[in-house]
Each structure stands twice: as C-alpha cells, then as structure tokens.
C-alpha cells in the first residue's frame, strides 16, 4: 500500500488551518503502524480481548481505529482514553488482519503528547526519567540498604538521559 492511502480521508483535500496539526497528521499517516489499519473489518476481536475495554465503557481499540479511518483526527488525539491502553498486546496478537493495534495506539499517544499535554502521571514520569535517568531515583539511603543486603551500590545521579533525549 502506498504511504498515506490507508485512509480514505487522505484522498480529500486537507483543510486544516492549524499547520502543527497538519504536520502531526502527516506523521500519523506516514508511520508504518497506521498503514495497515484500513484492513480492519470490524470483527471486534481486539475489543473482546482487551482487558480495559471490557471494564471501561469509553475505551475501545476498534473505536480508535475507526476514528482514524473516518478522519476524526483532531478528536482522536484529544481522546483521554488513549492513555487507558496498557500496551498489553492482547489485541495485536489476535487481530486476524495483522493490524499492529497496540503499536498504533503508542503512535497516537506520542502524537497526543506533541499536540498537547500528557496526563499528569505520565508527564511526571517523563520529567523524572530525563533528570534522573530512572523512574525511581536512588539516593544514599537506598545504597546503604542495598549494601546491607549485599547488593552492589548504584549511581544516584545520571546526566546521560538528559543529554541523549533532552536536546530534542
């Protein structure tokens, strides 16, 4: 399939005043994960395999795919339920059409972050990883506890992640 043809909406001329959104949209349609989604034939194997869709009414992987196919991109990237996906891959492993559903949702999350703010918990995680190099930074007290158990001490600071990804 040619890039960008996964979505009927791309055949229409994009009338988006906001250039930034247009850029994100291009990124979405160009990424390999989105290329296959037009093959979705609504069997709902994904929804019935999803541990979240079975208990949170607002969340449904096939809904996210259909929204993309129907061209509801702005709404899609604003959808707070994106963040309910656990990336468990249950849907992706079972989709008879081989759609990389979980990876596609990861792409949507990335674009939602570029477009606006991630949920507070996720944002805090990003900041701490960038600054400390780990989700749970270690301090001298941790190292003392580790040493007492015979475990090797670990660094309590880290600048490499900030340099590696922070500059972007």
């Amino acid at each position: 399939m040619e890039k960008g043809t996964c979505n009927q909406g791309t055949q229409r001329k994009l009338v988006l005043s906001n250039e930034r959104i247009a850029g994100l949209l291009k990124e979405l349609l160009d990424c390999s994960e989105a290329q296959g989604i037009s093959a979705c034939f609504m069997c709902r194997t994904c929804s019935s395999s999803c541990p979240i869709a079975t208990l949170e009414k607002g969340f449904d992987p096939v809904k996210l795919i259909r929204m993309c196919l129907y061209g509801l991109w702005d709404q899609l990237l604003r959808d707070p339920t994106l963040w309910l996906c656990t990336s468990c891959y249950a849907c992706q492993e079972r989709c008879p059409q081989g759609i990389k559903i979980a990876d596609f949702i990861t792409v949507l999350k990335n674009l939602a972050v570029k477009k606006g703010e991630p949920p507070p918990g996720i944002k805090a995680q990003r900041e701490i990883i960038t600054q400390a190099g780990r989700v749970y930074p270690l301090d001298e007290f941790d190292n003392k506890k580790r040493a007492k158990m015979g475990l090797p001490e670990l660094p309590t600071t880290c600048t490499v992640v900030g340099r590696l990804i922070g500059a972007e």
């Binding site: 541990p51 979240i52 208990l55 949170e56 963040w83 309910l84 996906c85 656990t86 990336s87 468990c88 891959y89 249950a90 992706q92 492993e93 079972r94 990389k100 979980a102 990876d103 990861t106 792409v107 999350k109 990335n110 972050v113 991630p118 949920p119 918990g121 996720i122 805090a124 995680q125 990003r126 990883i129 190099g133 780990r134 989700v135 749970y136 930074p137 270690l138 941790d142 506890k145 580790r146 158990m149 015979g150 475990l151 090797p152 670990l154 660094p155 880290c158 490499v160 992640v161 340099r163 590696l164 990804i165 972007e168």
Partner: protein, 289 residues
C-alpha cells in the same frame, strides 16, 4: 555462562526481593552476572511519550553491553520487551541511522550484536533441566501454584522470534513443575496485570488486577508465581489496597519464580528476600524452613 545483569528502575529500588533471589539462584546454577554501573532506564516508560527517546535509551544500554562483548539478562518483563524491540529492530529494514548517529556523537556505538533474554528464558532455554534439578534440596510437592505470565515477557511475539506461545504459554509452568509443585490453571491466565494504567486511572488498574486475584482464589491456588516487578506491585504490593477498596479478602502470597526455585534449592529466606514480600510467606513456606 556470563551475562550483563540489567536491573532497570523498579527492581533496585522497589523489588530487592527479586534482585536478591535472582542473584542467589543464578549463583547456584553457575551463572555469572556482570553489573554495569552506567545503565539507565530501559526506555519502556518513555514509549508512550516519545518512541524515539525510548529507542535511544534502549540502544544506549545495549551499546554499553556490546562494548563488553556480553549478552543481557533482564529480570523485568517491560525491560525485556523494550530492549528486545530495539535489538530486533536493528535486524529489520527500518532505518535507525540518525538515532545511531546521535549515540555516536555521545561516544557510543551500537551495531545490534547483543542478545536480550529474560532470566526465566535463560533458565528455560540455556540451562539443562537436569542441572536445575540437581540443585534442588527440597521437594515442593503439595504447593498449588498459579502462574502469571504477564504481557511483555513474550509479547509482541514478532520480536521474540518464537519464544513461548502468547495464546498458550508454558515456559514458566514447566520450570515451576521441576520443583515438584503443582501448577493450577485458571481462567484469565493471560490477562494483563493492569499496572501501566496505574498512574492514569488507578481504579481501572486495580480492577484489572482484582479480576485475576478473584480467578486465582476461585481455583484455590496457594500462591501466585510471576516474573515481573510491575506485576508483583499489582498483586503483592497492592493486594491489601485491593482488599480494602473492594471489600474482599485474598491473602494469596506472591513469589517471583526465582524465589520459588530458591526455596526448592534450600536457600535461606533472607538471600531470597522472602522477608520483603508484602503478603507474608512464612506460613505457606513453613515446612521448608
């Protein structure tokens, strides 16, 4: 057998029982672990925010290992999938040129040589069953074990190149059976622990975890055996919270696979970190100590 031990973030800070037991069991089996001080987060928690950043973090860690001419042993399933995805992507047609260039600018080289394996996978694939059996001093028969595989131990399956079977997983159960313990099947065995949504929607995460605790209580298992610190956080760390939230009572001990194997090996409670498990294991394991 020698591996760089990748601890990730959660284990050295919050799951030292896993680290202790993994080191103890590996040493009994003659597996040598090399600690690399400069490791950073595997990148998994960054994936939803910025896939490029996540890839770079994974590749940085693997570059450190490659530099030492080693392969990686992981303990956390999320670390396993994040690093396996990076390793696997190097063999694909995708172009990582600009990201590899960013790494090189910082003085690190990664060419894709490193193999990433979870410790359970190493025990399953690389260590002779007889050799494992010979280290056992206690017979665990009579223990009814519910195995929780979690998700990223073997998914997405395309990057794991045929390891285990996400629809009918068996590798951990086979290792548990070596101890003489009985593996009990239960509905919902393949369900995710819910952990990743904990920072976003706590109630949903706890509900997902509760469903599994319900299923496991129903079949009357004595304990849950698992291989990931996130999953342990949900079933062990949050078990009391789930009991309070939903007015339930479970009291089901949760052991890492390495702790269970360690019990069979006759290793003391302390070097297995059993005293650090939140749901107490003392009564369950009384007859072995």
């Amino acid at each position: 057998m020698k591996y760089a031990l990748f601890l990730g973030c959660t284990i050295p800070a919050r799951a030292r029982n896993y680290e202790l037991s993994a080191r103890s069991v590996a040493s009994r089996l003659g597996i040598e672990f090399i600690d690399i001080q400069d490791f950073v987060c595997c990148g998994f928690p960054m994936k939803g925010i910025d896939r490029r950043a996540a890839w770079l973090m994974g590749a940085y860690n693997l570059a450190l290992v490659e530099n030492k001419g080693l392969d990686v042993c992981t303990l956390c399933s999320s670390c396993t999938s994040a690093l396996t995805e990076v390793a696997h992507s190097m063999a694909s047609e995708e172009d990582h040129g600009d990201m590899l260039a960013s790494l090189e600018q910082m003085g690190f080289q990664y060419t894709g040589k490193v193999k990433v394996r979870h410790i359970a996978r190493i025990l399953f694939e690389q260590v002779d069953r007889e050799k494992i059996r010979k280290t056992f001093e206690k017979d665990l028969s009579g223990l009814r074990v519910a195995v929780h595989y979690g998700c990223h131990y073997f998914k997405p399956s395309e990057v794991y190149e045929g390891f285990d079977d996400p629809e009918a997983p068996y590798t951990i159960e086979e290792l548990v059976r070596l101890t003489g313990a009985q593996v009990v099947d239960y509905p919902g065995k393949k369900r995710c622990c819910g952990g990743p949504v904990l920072p976003v929607e706590e109630k949903a995460a706890l509900t997902v975890a509760k469903q599994k605790l319900d299923d496991i209580r129903e079949v009357g298992a004595d304990l849950i055996c698992l291989v990931c610190p996130f999953c342990a956080l949900m079933y062990d760390g949050n078990q009391k919270g789930i009991e309070a939230e939903f007015e339930e009572s479970y009291n089901i001990p949760v052991l890492y696979l390495t702790q269970l194997l360690g019990v069979a090996m006759g290793i003391d409670r302390k070097p297995l970190g059993l005293n650090l498990n939140v749901v107490k294991t003392k009564k369950l394991l009384e007859r072995f100590y």
